[in-house]
Amino acid sequence: MINIKDINFSYGKRDILKDISFDIQDNKCIAILGNNGAGKSTLIKCLNRIIPVKGGVVMVSGADLFKMPRNEVAKNIAYVAQKTETSRVTVYDAILVGRKPYIKWDITADDKKIVDDVIEHMDLEDFTLRFIDELSGGELQKVMLARAMVQQPKFLLLDEPTSNLDPRNQYELMKRVKHIAREHNISVAVVIHDLNLALRYCDKFLFIKDSRVFAYGDHDIMTPKIISDVYNMKSDVIEHNGIKLVVPLPDEPYELTHGDGHGHGGINVTSNEHVKEACNS
């Protein structure tokens, strides 16, 4: 269980994060959503002390993270950056470095065993001796996720992990992330822009607006109203073959969004409060 309470952060006098509080259950994956510049990346960097907070508490299984030495934090939280600097290092070595918080003088047989298991688990066996500066974006992101996994964290932070991936790789990566949360009993927080990816693979959604938590909840809070309030953009939230989808409607004037509230050719509109409100008025 991760409890986050009253996280505050500012650059000089400009508040970036104000009183951010939320909890994440074990084996749940939450999406952190909001506009560009809303402070999503800053939030997850604050959570694992890459940047120092101005105030607040992060509890991981009851232990106060901000009172731990940095090395202990690294045993509890793993982080995959939005952009990874690559260099002439093999995939095996790049994953092995995830054992850094546990290494005293040198790696042990245990460390290698953990790396081997993760490599097998993530189907990276054929990659181990490739250099990471020769990998594709999807492969590199998978390696970075593997590196985070060998840290054996209780809490995993991902900063826009899908931003450089093609659609198929985006879905595969997020599927894997969800699987990791379930299988390894890890709480995951993902900064993500694609609302449909979030809907598909995350359990809860944290919307950040004006430096504060605007809404936090499960699939029910993904409504056109909230999306409109956060992103200033009209949208439909529909269901297609049992899959909930957000259909952005950036160009459509408000009143013209199929005012009858019924579907587009077999697609059932399940929730469109704005449209309903517009019709009623």
Binding site: K45, N48, K83, R88, Y92, D93, E125
Partner: protein, 356 residues
């Protein structure tokens, strides 16, 4: 599990290759060292060298080997190793492939110190006993001390400036360039008002000279090497973690700023000691790490020791070349490493660019 154990055995093979590189380099260094000890104006055979080592050589070879050649060869080995390992870690913590002792102004700081010693404190004077050694420094201790203070002073200024205002890795490199310019300008101004002999002594010092160290000085350089090597090896996993960027390193529990500043301080200290005894020797700190990165990758567990041996091999090779090519004249070592090192570096650079 089968494929995973194959992944492991592949990796183990890959690691063994790196160990093999290290063993081959060590063997080459040993062979070159024996060759260098034997060669010179007085030739000493290999068997005679080994006899001398166990104290059973002739008095003449005893004098040549123990008194002259061994200090020179060990100085070359240790200074080469220091320049290479400090280069490799500075390139890591500053995230700059061109980082080396000179990047932080250490070399120019040391030159400035030597200039002050020779010109202001009159530590240099003409000595016409041989054509190849026309000018020597009369007070080497004073010159070394001033050069050391100049080198370490440059680093202290840079680190202090960057602590006051967090300038980051690129800022540090630029500050080093600026400080180098200030020191070299100051040295030039002092030389402008000095007489010919003093200027010649300064120039002679900056050429670099591996032949002026006695066993006592070799021991000091050895201590500098050992301290730096141990410190860098303790931090090898920190450097590995920093390869994926500062944020990732922090998330792996690395105190990035502490590692950066302590590494630079140790590197500057070790190179200042080396430079203060032998003068300015450039390019070893760039070439040795860059060649070795091609062989063992950026895994600092291997890159640091392998670079140390490669640096030693390069400087000893350059010194042997400088001593033997137009013997008995000894060419200035600093000029040889730059003259040969520059093209080699360009070759590495463009070969690397083609591979990408």
């Amino acid at each position: 599990m089968g494929s995973s154990s194959k992944a492991r055995s592949d990796y183990n093979k890959f690691v063994r290759k790196k160990v093999l590189v290290l063993v081959i380099l060590c063997a080459a260094l040993f062979a070159l060292a024996i060759f260098a000890i034997g060669q010179g104006s007085a030739h000493v055979s290999i068997s005679e060298i080994f006899k001398t080592f166990i104290g059973q050589g002739e008095p003449r070879s005893q004098t040549v080997v123990v008194g002259v050649r061994v200090p020179r060869v060990t100085t070359a080995i240790l200074v080469g190793a220091i320049l290479a390992i400090t280069g490799v870690v500075m390139q890591s913590v500053l995230k700059n492939p061109l980082a080396s002792a000179s990047t932080l102004g250490v070399s120019n700081g040391a030159s400035f110190g030597a200039t002050i010693a020779i010109i202001v404190f009159s530590a240099g004077i003409q000595n016409s006993t041989s054509a190849a050694n026309a000018i020597s420094v009369t007070n080497p201790f004073l010159v070394s001390t001033c050069a050391f203070l100049g080198g370490i002073g440059a680093t202290i200024i840079i680190i202090a400036l960057s602590r006051i205002k967090q300038v980051g890795q690129q800022g540090l490199v630029l500050a080093g360039v600026a400080l180098s310019a200030i020191f070299s300008g100051a040295s030039t101004l002092i030389q402008y008002f000095a007489d010919d002999v003093q200027v010649a002594a300064v120039v002679f010092w900056t050429f670099g000279d591996l032949g002026s160290t006695s066993m006592k000085e070799v021991l000091i350089i050895l201590a500098a090497f050992a301290g730096a090597f141990i410190f860098f090896m303790i931090n090898r996993w920190n450097y590995n973690a920093m390869e994926n960027g500062e944020e990732t390193a922090k998330s792996l529990g690395v105190n990035v700023n502490l590692i950066m500043y302590s590494t630079m301080a140790v590197a500057a200290f070790a190179t200042s000691i080396a430079v203060s005894y032998v003068g300015i020797i450039s390019f070893i700190g760039l070439i040795a790490p860059h060649i070795m990165r091609r062989f063992v990758g950026n895994d600092y567990r291997f890159l640091i020791p392998v670079s140390a041996v490669a640096g030693a091999l390069l400087l000893l090779g350059a010194d042997s070349f400088a001593r033997l090519i137009i013997a008995p004249i000894i060419l200035p070592i600093g000029a040889i490493t730059s003259f040969v090192g520059g093209p080699v570096f360009l070759w590495i650079l463009f070969k690397g660019a083609k591979r990408k």
